[in-house]
C-alpha cells in the first residue's frame, strides 16, 4: 500500500514527465492562459528561436489588464495599451491560439473566464503569466502564476522545470456569522500567517467553512493565496465543484463526463496524509475585515483602530508600519469605521463574479451612494455582466448611483483609465493595497463586496452589519 497523499501530491505526481536525481522535475502543464501584459516578450522569444506553440488547443488568450471599461465600441485611446492589445491579437493569430476578442461576450478577466468556460477542471495543472492564477485552485487544480520566461517555456514545450512545493493545510472550522464571507476568511488567514507565511508552499484550504462556500467564494479564497506568499491554493473538488462545471462549453462532454467525474473523485487528500505545516482558524471568530496599511497582512476587524507602530514587534516592522501610515495618511488610534473614502471599486479577479455582485447589490438596493463618492462596478466578464443584467443588478446599482462598466481588470491595478489620484482613498474589493497599486499615491482599503457597497453608501468605511 502506498503512503497517503495530499491533493497536491496527487496532481504533482501525475504530471511529472521526468524527475532528475536532484529532485528537479519536468512538469506537464495541461492548460495555459495568456493575456496581453506578460506575453509579448515571450512570443518574441519564440519567433527569434523559430519555435512554435506546442499545444495551441490547450491555450486560451484574452486581453483584460489594459482594456477600458467604457466606450468599448471605439479603439483604445491610450496608444501603449492599444498596441499591447493589438500585439496580443497578432500573436494569437500567428501562433494559432484560441482568442476571445474584446467584442466577444466571453471576454473578461482571465481568471474569471477560465472557470466560466469550463477550461478550468479538477486535477489539471494550469499556469498563466499572472500571480492570481491561484484562483483556479478552487477547482482542485494545481494553478500558479509564472513570469514571461516561463510563459515562453510553456508555449514552446507545454512543460515547466519545477521542484515540488511544500504542503500547508489551513482548516477553517464552523460557520461564519452573517456579514462575514469568503473575502473576510482569506483576509483573516493572511492577517494570521502574514504575506510571506505561505512562501514555498501550496495551501490546501479545508474545513466546514470552506466546504460550505460556493465556487465563487472558493475562488475568492484561492485567488488571494499569493497575498499569503503561496503560489497556489487548493480546495478539494466535491459535488459543488462538479455541479458548477457540468455543461460548460469546454467541460468534458456527455461521452466523457462519467470518466472525468470518476477521476476527479479520486483527487481529495487521503486520510492520514501529512502536511509540512498546519493552521486552524474558527470561522465564528472572524469579523468583517478591512486593511489599514500597504500590505494585505495589514488587516483588522472593522471594529478596530489604526494600530500604533510603537507596538510593533521589531524595528523593521515598526519602520514599515510608520511608512504605511504616512502613505495612507492615517493616525494611530483612528477608528477604521468612519474613515472617509472618495472612491468605491467593486470588481477584479478576486471579487468580480456574479455572487460578488449579488452581495454588493443586496446592500445597494434601495439606497444611494453618498454625495461626492465615485462608485464603480466592473463585472469580471461579459457573461457575468449579462447575467447580472438578466437579474436586474445593473439597475439596482445605477439607481443607487454606481457606475456600471464593461469587463476587465480595471482599477485593481490601474493599467487602464480607471485609477486613483494621489492621496485619493478607496474602498476596494481587489487584492492588493500596495503603494501606488490603484494609481500613484492612491490609498487602498481592501474589503469584501458587501463592505465596499456599505462604504460607498455611508461615504466612509462602515460595518456592513449595520445595513440590515
Amino acid at each position: 500500500m502506498t503512503s497517503p497523499k495530499t491533493l497536491f501530491d496527487k496532481i504533482w505526481d501525475s504530471h511529472v514527465v521526468r524527475r532528475d536525481a536532484d529532485g528537479t522535475c519536468l512538469l506537464y502543464i495541461d492548460r495555459h492562459m495568456v493575456h496581453e501584459v506578460t506575453s509579448a516578450q515571450a512570443f518574441d522569444g519564440l519567433r527569434l528561436a523559430g519555435r512554435k506553440a506546442r499545444r495551441p488547443e490547450a491555450t486560451l488568450v484574452v486581453a483584460d489588464h489594459n482594456v477600458p471599461t467604457t466606450d468599448r465600441d471605439k479603439p483604445i485611446a491610450d496608444d501603449d495599451s492599444r498596441i499591447q492589445v493589438e500585439t496580443l491579437e497578432k500573436n494569437a493569430a500567428e501562433f494559432g491560439l484560441p482568442y476571445f476578442p474584446l467584442t466577444d461576450i466571453r471576454q473578461g478577466i482571465v481568471h474569471i473566464i477560465g472557470p466560466e468556460q469550463g477550461f478550468t477542471q479538477p486535477g489539471m495543472t494550469i499556469v498563466c503569466g499572472d500571480s492570481h492564477t491561484a484562483t483556479h485552485g478552487a477547482f482542485g487544480a494545481l494553478a500558479f502564476g509564472v513570469g514571461t520566461s516561463e510563459v515562453e517555456h510553456v508555449l514552446a514545450t507545454q512543460t515547466l522545470i519545477q521542484k515540488p512545493a511544500k504542503n500547508m493545510r489551513i482548516t477553517v472550522t464552523g460557520s461564519p456569522h452573517p456579514g462575514v464571507g469568503a473575502k473576510d476568511i482569506i483576509l483573516a488567514i493572511i492577517g494570521q500567517i502574514g504575506t510571506a507565511g505561505g512562501t514555498g508552499h501550496v495551501i490546501e484550504y479545508t474545513g466546514e467553512a470552506i466546504s460550505a462556500l460556493s465556487m465563487e467564494g472558493r475562488m475568492t479564497v484561492c485567488n488571494m493565496s499569493i497575498e499569503a506568499g503561496a503560489r497556489a491554493g487548493l480546495i478539494a473538488p466535491d459535488e459543488t465543484t462538479f455541479a458548477y462545471i457540468l455543461g460548460r462549453p469546454m467541460a468534458p462532454g456527455a461521452d466523457q463526463w462519467d470518466a472525468a467525474l470518476a477521476h476527479w473523485k479520486t483527487l481529495p487528500s487521503d486520510p492520514g496524509a501529512t502536511y509540512d505545516s498546519e493552521i486552524t482558524l474558527s470561522a465564528a471568530d472572524i469579523e468583517p475585515l478591512v486593511t489599514w496599511g500597504t500590505s494585505p497582512e495589514d488587516v483588522l476587524p472593522i471594529t478596530g483602530q489604526v494600530p500604533d507602530p510603537a507596538a510593533a514587534k521589531d524595528a523593521a516592522k515598526r519602520r514599515s508600519m510608520e511608512r504605511a501610515l504616512e502613505y495612507m495618511g492615517l493616525e494611530p488610534g483612528t477608528k477604521l469605521a468612519g474613515i472617509p473614502i472618495r472612491t468605491a471599486f467593486i470588481g477584479s479577479c478576486t471579487n468580480g463574479r456574479i455572487e460578488d455582485l449579488r452581495e454588493a447589490a443586496a446592500i445597494a438596493k434601495g439606497r444611494k451612494v453618498a454625495p461626492g463618492i465615485r462608485a464603480l462596478v466592473v463585472p469580471g466578464s461579459g457573461l457575468v455582466k449579462k447575467q447580472a443584467e438578466d437579474e436586474g443588478l445593473d439597475t439596482v446599482f445605477t439607481q443607487a448611483g454606481f457606475e456600471w462598466r464593461e469587463p476587465g481588470c480595471s482599477m485593481c491595478l490601474a493599467m487602464n483609465p480607471d485609477k486613483l489620484a494621489p492621496g485619493e482613498r478607496a474602498a476596494s474589493t481587489s487584492n492588493r493595497n500596495f503603494e501606488g497599486r490603484q494609481g500613484p499615491g492612491g490609498r487602498t482599503h481592501l474589503m469584501s463586496p458587501a463592505m465596499v457597497a456599505a462604504a460607498a453608501i455611508a461615504g466612509h468605511i462602515a460595518d456592513v452589519r449595520d445595513f440590515d
Binding site: 514527465v17 521526468r18 532528475d20 536532484d22 528537479t24 519536468l26 506537464y28 495541461d30 501584459v37 506578460t38 516578450q41 522569444g45 519555435r51 489588464h65 491610450d78 501603449d80 498596441i83 499591447q84 477542471q121 499572472d130 500571480s131 492564477t133 502564476g145 509564472v146 513570469g147 514571461t148 520566461s149 516561463e150 515562453e152 517555456h153 514552446a156 514545450t157 507545454q158 522545470i161 521542484k163 504575506t195 510571506a196 512562501t199 499569493i226 506568499g229 503561496a230 462532454g253 466523457q256 470518466a259 472525468a260 477521476h263 500590505s295 523593521a316 519602520r319 514599515s320 491595478l413 490601474a414 493599467m415 492588493r432 500596495f434 503603494e435 501606488g436 497599486r437 500613484p440 499615491g441
Partner: protein, 203 residues
Amino acid sequence: MEKFTTLTGIAAPLPMINVDTDKIIPAVWLKTIKRTGLGPALFEAIRYKADGSEDPDFVLNKEPYRKAEILVTGKNFGCGSSREHAVWALDGFGIRCVIAPDFADIFYTNAFKNGMLLVKLPQDDVDKLMEDAEKGGNARLSVDLERQVVIRPDGEEIAFDIDPFRKNCLLNGLDDIALTLQKKAEIADFESGQKKTTPWLYG
C-alpha cells in the same frame, strides 16, 4: 541567457521589508512589449518626486550607489505580481544580484531565468552586509557563485545555499527551453499516456 559567475561591485542598502513588485516597477510601465529600457522605471514611486525630478534621499540617486550592481534588502523581496518586468527593471539599472533573507517565489524564479543571482542568507548575515553596503564608496561586495560565498570588504566570507540546477544554469548561461526541447520524446510519451488515462484533457 547571460552567465553569472563572479561579481564584484557596489552594494546598495535598501533596508525595507516586503518590497512588492508594484514598488519595484509600477503597472503603467508594463505596457511595453519589450524587455529593455526599464532601468529608469526601477523604484519609480520612491526614486522620483512628484515633479519627476530625482529624490536626493533615495539610495540609488546617491553616489556611489548610482552604479550599484548588488542590492541588499529585507525579507520577502519581490512579493506580489508575476511581472518579470521587475527583474528587467533591476537588470536595466545594472543590478545583477540581490541579497535578502528571503524572496517571493515567482520573483525568485523570474530572476534566475534572466541570469540574475538572488542570494538568501539568514537575517544576521544580511544585517552585516547591510552595514557594509551603508559604507558608501567602500561598499564593495564580491559574490562567487561557483564557491557559493559572498565576500565582505574585510575579506570575511559568508557561504550561501543554492539549488544545484539553478546554479548550473546561471554558471553556464543555459537556455532552459533548449534543454527541455531535448526531452521532446519524453514529453510526447507523457502525452500519449495521458490521452489514455484522462482523454477528456484532449477534447
